[in-house]
């Protein structure tokens, strides 16, 4: 059904990623095959063009290596000074991320994408700085050599023999625009010979090797191919977006098996490339086995999983006694079509016990899943030491094994007299089996061999030789040897299984207890207390929970924490919160921090951050890490639900109060105004009804004035309550200020009595954008305030003028001016000036302030130099859009 018709979800995702891309900054990468092709030069040229087109551009960091042409290009381009760092007495300069973020240019140039930052920087890698810039909506130009691309590093190592330490994840380039800076190898070699290529000292030794013509051609091809594939990706995205049918059938899913083995890294890269070519989603699976791993193995495994995550894989861990079964189980669960595994380097003895080699079994049991066995590179990858065979804890178990053998032999020497030399073998066997339960496989095998030999040497005839004379003993010896080995092995497996079971049980129990306790605690404080306690117990750590302050967008530590965060740790937590990524201890960001800070992510919200300071050092084993993530997910869900519930309650309350407020306002307004309307209508009718006597006329005038005043008071009270309740929503439109002033003066009428008002509007007839009713009330209140505080006959002035950002309205009088104390308090409700004449409620000025602020403006007051007070209202000035002109 979906032939030729784009899947709406996929389309939506494409549009959204397009949207996200436009909000984020755009990354442009100048890609070269190696140093010296002129990437920085090309970047600066492009920057000059951008500068010429009027973009706000700065140089964040460039490295010209003193090349004159490049320096000349950079000359005159604004730049951000580099950050000075003191690292163990050495002065280092680094790109200043914070200065750039606060400068917020449209475009920033940051050379050497793959650079590793000096210790003490916020991020380990410069590409992380760049990501933060992009997230802040800043476009970035950067340079990169193909050898630094994670998925190509291995290929480069194979070509040049040089291991690449600084790599950037392919995912960082996914949305980038690539510009290939190409130079034919011969030209590059010429430039090299002329000394135009800068090489760091440490590479200089390898340079002849590196810059061989053959190498350069291969590197160039690599760069060209990468660029071409990248373009291909764009084209595919385009085809996808425009519903052009895929030329190949989709539905492929890849799974790569990851382990602590050093070969895993290149396997992961291989799978990444394949998934890119197939356009298939891929996952990396680690099957945790019961055997404990050493610390270096553990670290290597974490690195591999992190690598897979960086390259865009979904990372899955599962635990299973048998790797093959674990792999296939997960593969089937996820409808995987192809599994990528390493081709084993040699034959292993233990495979016999498991019913054939790993690969054979995998292939035999895989059913319709394709198995890709890839020759795995590595071992000496990046010059990592091959791990020592004997590890310290193992050495101890070997010692125990030897000790047990010795003790058993001594015991047997005593027993032999009573039980005979054949039964002695059973005692040996017993010791081997028991040993197998407590120590690992190696020591058990050693004990099995050792006891077999000891029995042969010390107990069979002829004693104290390794010779066996009779067939019976030979038979016994052989049987013993095999049985001991098998028993030992089985015992080890049994123990391992038990350990795994126990670990799984511990995890399941921890999770169960957490969910149970959380379900039982209803309130947030109680919930968080439970969380902190459980986390602390399970991970042996001090725990802090921080919750975001919605109003300010900052993070506040919650009181129910067993660890009070220092300023610095809180900063790291805030980073994790803002970037939705783990930060701190043993992560890639701010890892000098004491604690690990995990953002709690629930959908598109981050309802908090949990911080852990572990009591033990060392990286968390993957299983623990996974458990921690499960905890974090659970916490995120609970917190999110809680905050949703809170905001729901709040919203209901607000809606209810608004409804009440509106009802009250409406009824009060109706009840007060209707009789008032009747009074003034009747009095005006009276005047129109016929000729009145002078007494009648003045009585009608009194009626009029009383009802006008009452009407204004009611209006002010209603406005005030509306203002207080937050129901005041300004309705902005274009107005002629003259109209508003005229209305204000008109509605005051007799209240101004004999005070002449001069109106000075220096705006011409330019329309102003404001809320007419609110502005009219501002003027009415300011003018009537002036009238209340001044003698009859004193002039009142009104001025209107522009300031660059404001429309300024001034009402000035010649009254006694402001009281020396509490000028600011005049804007408070029911504050009346000391000289106020009778009348006036003290509401007017507080309304003026409220109405000005509701329109985004403000009000101030001062005494005039030559006597009197001046009130100044500033409202935001909005530039008028063009008006169509016409011919006469």
């Amino acid at each position: 059904m979906s032939e030729g018709r784009p899947n709406p979800d996929a389309l939506l995702a494409a549009i959204q990623s397009e949207d996200a891309r436009t909000q984020r900054g755009r990354l442009k990468v100048f890609l070269g095959m190696c140093a010296g092709v002129g990437k920085t030069y090309a970047m600066l040229e492009a920057a000059r063009r951008e500068l010429a087109s009027g973009r706000d551009l700065v140089i964040g960091y460039i490295e010209t290596h003193g090349r004159r042409e490049t320096d000349a290009l950079a000359d005159g381009v604004p730049f951000i000074p580099r950050r000075q760092l003191d690292y163990r007495g050495v002065q280092l300069t680094e790109f200043d991320l914070d200065a750039t973020l606060s400068r917020k240019p449209q475009l920033v140039l940051v050379d050497e994408f793959a650079h590793t930052n000096a210790p003490g920087s916020r991020h380990q890698k410069r590409y992380q700085d760049v990501i933060e810039l992009l997230d802040a909506g800043i476009d970035v130009f950067t340079t990169l050599n193909v050898q630094h691309i994670e998925s190509r590093a291995e290929a480069v190592r194979q070509i040049t023999g040089i291991a690449i330490q600084e790599t950037v994840p392919d995912t960082t380039l996914a949305d980038a625009e690539l510009e290939l800076v190409d130079l034919p190898p011969d030209e590059l070699r010429t430039r090299l010979a002329e000394g135009k290529v800068y090489l760091p000292e440490r590479v200089a030794t390898a340079r002849d090797n590196f810059f061989r013509s053959g190498n350069l051609s291969a590197l160039r091809e690599l760069a060209l191919r990468f660029a071409a594939e990248h373009v291909g990706q764009d084209v595919r995205d385009y085809r996808h977006k425009h519903g052009i049918a895929e030329p190949w059938k989709s539905g492929q899913r890849l799974l790569v098996a990851v382990s602590a083995s050093p070969t895993s890294a290149s396997l992961i890269r291989w799978a990444c490339r394949l998934s890119g070519e197939l356009r298939a989603p891929w996952a990396a699976l680690y099957v945790e086995q019961p055997l404990a791993m050493s610390e270096p193995e553990n670290q290597r495994l974490s690195k591999h999983l992190a690598l897979a995550r960086e390259l865009g894989a979904e990372v899955v861990t599962t635990s299973d006694q048998d790797v093959v079964e674990g792999l296939l189980r997960v593969a089937r669960e996820r409808n995987v079509t192809q599994i990528v595994v390493g081709k084993p380097a040699g034959w292993r003895m233990m495979e016999l016990f498991r019913g054939g080699s790993f690969l054979n079994r995998l292939i035999r049991q895989s059913g319709n899943i394709d198995i890709l066995a890839v020759r795995a590179e590595g071992g000496t990858l990046a010059g990592r030491p091959i791990r020592p065979r004997l590890k310290i804890p193992d050495a101890r178990s070997y010692a125990v094994a030897v000790g047990v053998c010795t003790v058993t032999t001594a015991l047997n020497a005593l027993l032999q007299h009573w039980i005979g030399y054949q039964a002695v073998a059973l005692v040996y066997l017993l010791s081997v089996v028991l040993l197998g339960i407590f120590v690992g496989r190696g020591p058990t095998l050693l004990a099995a061999t050792l006891t077999a030999l000891l029995w042969n040497y010390a107990f069979t005839d002829p004693q104290l030789t390794f010779r066996i004379d009779n067939a019976e003993d030979t038979m016994l010896f052989a049987t013993y040897f095999v049985v001991a080995l098998a028993m030992g092995h089985l015992a080890t497996r049994l123990r391992a299984q038990q350990l795994a079971e126990r670990a799984r049980e511990v995890r399941a129990t921890a999770m169960y207890l957490l969910t149970r306790d959380m379900a039982e605690s209803g309130e947030l404080a109680q919930l968080l207390g439970v969380l902190v306690r459980h986390l602390g117990d399970t991970f042996r750590a001090d725990v802090a929970v921080s919750l975001p302050d919605e109003a300010r967008g900052t993070l506040t530590p919650y009181f129910a924490s067993s660890w009070s965060l220092s300023e610095k740790e809180l900063g790291v937590a805030t980073w994790a919160f803002e970037h939705r990524q783990p930060a701190g201890y043993k992560t890639e960001t701010l890892n000098s921090a004491e604690g690990l800070h995990l953002p709690l992510i629930a959908g598109d919200r981050v309802p908090g951050v949990v911080s852990l300071r572990f009591h033990d050092s060392g990286a968390l084993p993957p299983a623990q890490r996974e458990l921690l993530e499960a905890f974090a997910r659970q916490m995120a869900l609970v917190l999110d639900r809680q905050s949703l519930r809170d905001s729901e309650t709040r919203a209901t309350l607000v809606a209810e109060s608004e409804r009440l407020g509106k009802t009250l306002l409406n009824s009060v307004s109706h009840e007060l105004r209707t009789p008032l309307a009747a009074i003034s209508t009747a009095s005006s009718g009276l005047r129109d009804a016929g000729p009145l006597t002078p007494t009648q006329q003045s009585l009608v005038a009194e009626l009029d004035e009383a009802s006008t005043r009452l009407n204004r008071l009611v209006r002010n009270l209603l406005d005030l309550s509306r203002l207080e309740a937050g129901h005041l929503h300004p309705h902005f439109d274009w107005h002629d200020l003259q109209d508003i002033v005229r209305l204000a003066l008109g509605s005051l009428g007799r209240a101004l009595a004999s005070r002449p008002v001069t109106v000075d509007i220096q705006l011409g007839h330019a329309p102003v954008r404001l809320d007419a009713a609110l502005t009219e009330q501002i003027l009415v209140n300011l003018l009537s305030n002036a009238a209340t505080h001044t003698e009859q006959g004193t002039p009142i002035e009104f001025h209107a003028r522009w300031e660059p950002d404001w429309l300024v309205l001034e009402v000035a009088d010649r009254g006694p001016g402001l009281p020396p104390e509490g000028a600011a308090r005049l804007f408070d409700r029911f504050q009346r000036g000391p000289q106020a004449a009778a009348g006036g409620t003290g509401l007017g000025l507080s309304l003026v302030k409220g109405f000005a602020e509701a329109q985004g403006g403000n009000v101030s007051l001062e005494n005039r130099a030559d006597g009197g007070a001046r009130f100044t209202v500033r409202l935001p000035r909005v530039k008028m859009p063009p008006v169509p002109q016409d011919q006469p």
Binding site: S707, R715, D733, W734, R742, L743, H765, P767, P884, D886
Partner: protein, 233 residues
């Protein structure tokens, strides 16, 4: 005038006091009054008696004034004058754009009220338009597209003239911003109030004796503009 010839005014308002006041004022000035306390009653009475004019309060207890207006307009073209309260510019504008002819704001001045009724009645009964409009010294000759003040011709641009002609053809009646903008600049411009502000200011410069105190083109705050047929003395 015999009782039957007097125009019949249907007053729909839930406040008895307002109904009584209106009845007194209108009957003293040559109208017959038919009071209705609810929207429903108003609609029934309108169907039975075919009033010459309807005065409609927007804040009715049963059906909203807007709804009464809509239902009335389905079959009747009798002029409707809205009775509204202060601060309800949005309600007035919606009613005017929804087919009402004019409005008065409570508390109302009886002279103003009677003027509105006269204008509404005149526009409703007018068979053909006068081609010449005169107000004080201003003469607008629609047939010849000539505008003169005290006999001197006034130069107007095409848009200024279109705006003036529109106001003249509805002299005495309020026109909302939307109505003016739609007629003069087209449907796309109905939100562009600033066009109106600019052109009305230009017209006032050319036509009003004192542009800062306009007597001819009057601003109806928050609603629109009205051309006063004869400047008040």
């Amino acid at each position: 005038m015999t009782e039957a010839l007097k125009p019949l005014v249907l007053v729909v308002d839930d406040e008895p006091q307002i109904r009584r006041l209106l009845a007194v004022t209108l009957e003293a000035n040559g109208y017959r009054v038919l009071p209705a306390a609810t929207g429903q009653e108003g609609l029934v009475l309108a169907a039975q008696h075919h009033p010459a004019i309807v005065m409609l309060d927007l804040g009715l207890p049963d059906v909203s004034g807007q709804e009464v207006l809509r239902r009335l307009r389905e079959w009747s073209s009798a002029p409707v004058v809205i009775l509204s309260v202060q601060d309800d510019e949005a309600g007035k504008v919606a009613a005017l754009d929804g087919g009402a002819d004019d409005y008065v704001t409570k508390p109302f001045n009886s002279a103003e009220l009677l003027a509105r009724l006269r204008v509404a009645l005149r526009h409703a009964t007018k068979q053909e338009e006068d081609s010449v409009f005169q107000s004080g010294s201003l003469v607008v000759d629609l047939a010849n597209r000539r505008v003169t003040i005290k006999g001197r011709e006034v130069e107007l641009t095409a848009t200024e003239y279109n705006l003036l002609r529109l106001l003249v053809r509805h002299a005495g009646k309020v026109l909302t911003h939307r109505q003016l903008l739609r007629e003069v600049w087209g449907v796309a411009a109905v939100e562009q109030t600033h066009y109106l502000r600019v052109y009305v200011a230009r017209l006032r410069e050319k036509l009003e004796p004192i542009p800062s105190e306009p007597k001819l083109i009057v601003t109806e705050p928050g609603v629109g503009y009205r051309l006063r047929p004869a400047p008040t003395q």
